[in-house]
Amino acid sequence: MGFEKFGRKSFTAITKVGEYVDKLESGEIYTTHCPKCNKTYFPPRMDCPGCLSGSLEWAKVPATGKLVTFTNVNYAPTGFEGDLPYLLAVVDFDGFRMFGRLSSSMQGTDIKVGMSVKPIVVNYDNGQIAHEFIAAE
């Protein structure tokens, strides 16, 4: 249990990487790493398809990454209308990439592919929690 708290609206409750949400709640953003294959995965997973290990390690996400692409969403699927408009993005961390929203505080600012962003933990008003990204200083 616990993963139903992830994101604006979750579709999943039980997973072996439910600890992701516990870490978010303590203000930390981690993903998983396979020491044997020396590979970092995002999304986090406990199973490695390379060596078939079932117990990957948690690894801290670097403080900054680069914006690969983004979009400003004006038309939401059911259940997300109240957040409009919102920004979706892919961020590169040199070795792995993450998907998530750009902070709503970036709405209306000059957002550019390639810019530096940092991952942050965001608590939504309905008790949900997620990682987002915000422009690095």
Partner: protein, 385 residues
């Protein structure tokens, strides 16, 4: 010369419409009737039915059982195939292998979708769940927003512009007006496209195809059966398939769809031809940017240079490589499970010289590019006469 092992002997398609006035069984019968009349055969000849659809739009569970019954095909076997928007070319690949293996000698591939039973927002919600529901859907993803991110990356990496995307829609509209089976037949101007509202930046309303109800039907046969039935068999020369991660974060780059590039490479290798040999192509233009990405994945243009083809009108009927001269998904509409079959039908008519106003003169080799989800499933087919 292509291997002449497996042929297409019949093609059919319903009109693609906003709200089909009937049930899914009746919708399927529309395309089936046309394909069977085209093939000129009786239902006794069909040895298996492959039904292709994304079933979350239907109330009916396991629709293949119902459809096999309604088409009068029992006791021959049937089952359902799903790979989102590429379901019917996936079904086609299976039909090809059934015939090639000798298990069945005539196979019917029936794709359909009746999307009008739920609201457009609910359709988008289901499409959003065609992404990873654990890590991406919780942020409020949808098909337009995913392709918008590919468009944004293309703009940033290669200098393409919203105006280039609008040119794709202008071309689509030019031919959509001629297609009696298209859902969107109105002429749209460059100015109308550029001034349409933003759905998910940089994509505008007119950069997006419309949902529709529709069905398509393709009948494949062995060489012996094809010679018996058909005056103008069209042969399957190449079948290429590839997959990319569902998570955008797991993909190595955003410069194009790897599943399409690899599927094309496989299809060209199997057919023994290259991009320069293709006379006419149908590509998966669910969004305008998707057509530009297709030009590049298929080798019609180098990576980053796809926009030159549309700026120079090279993909118009009179151009070097006519693409989507039936209006494409942007004009025809996109009934998910039926789309690939509709693309195949257009190419078959072209290769037979039966494409009417949109006929590419003397077309000998045609290509179909059909993508499931946002570049998750890639199918490329090469057909020849």
């Amino acid at each position: 010369m292509p291997d002449k092992d497996v042929a297409i002997v019949g093609v059919g398609q319903s009109a693609f419409v906003r709200g089909y006035p009937g049930g899914i069984r009746e919708l399927c019968f529309e395309a089936y009737r046309e394909a069977m009349q085209d093939a000129g055969i009786s239902s006794k000849e069909i040895k298996a039915l492959i039904v292709c659809c994304a079933p979350e739009y239907d109330k009916q569970r396991s629709p293949s059982g119902l459809i096999n019954e309604y088409l009068g095909l029992n006791p021959s076997p049937t089952f359902m195939v799903e790979s989102l928007c590429s379901s019917s070319t996936t079904g086609f690949a299976i039909a090809y292998s059934f015939i090639k293996s000798g298990l069945y000698d005539v196979v019917c591939v029936l794709g359909f979708q009746k999307m009008s039973e739920i609201t457009s927002q609910d359709v988008q919600e289901r499409m959003g769940r065609g992404a990873d529901v654990m890590w991406e859907s919780p942020y409020g993803t949808s098909m337009p927003s995913y392709y918008a991110m590919y468009a944004q990356a293309h703009f940033a990496n290669f200098g393409s512009k919203p105006e280039d995307l609008a040119l794709v829609r202008v071309k689509s509209s030019t031919y959509g007006q001629l297609n009696e089976k298209a859902v969107y037949r109105k002429k749209v101007t460059f100015e109308q496209i550029m001034s349409s509202g933003v759905v998910s930046s940089p994509l505008k309303v007119m950069d997006c195809c419309a949902n529709a109800d529709g069905s398509s039907c393709i009948i494949l046969a062995s060489a012996d059966k094809a010679k018996e039935f058909s005056k103008k068999p069209v042969w399957v020369m190449g079948v290429g398939q590839s997959n990319a991660p569902m998570n955008l974060a797991s993909r190595e780059h955003m410069r194009g769809l790897e599943c399409a590039r690899i599927a094309a490479e496989k299809a060209y290798a199997m057919a023994g031809v290259g991009p320069q040999d293709i006379d006419v192509a149908e590509v998966h233009d669910c969004f305008t940017i998707a057509e530009i990405l297709a030009y590049e994945a298929l080798g019609f243009a180098k990576q980053g240079e796809g926009v030159n083809l549309i700026r120079d009108k090279e993909t118009y009927l009179e151009g070097r490589i006519p693409v989507n001269v039936d209006g494409g998904l942007l004009s025809k509409g996109h009934p998910i499970g039926a789309t690939g079959g509709s693309q195949i039908r257009t190419i078959v008519l072209q290769l037979r010289g039966e494409a009417g106003a949109i006929q590419v003169p003397n077309a000998e080799i045609g290509l179909v590019h059909n993508i499931g989800g946002v570049g998750i499933y890639g199918n490329v087919l090469i057909l020849g006469r």
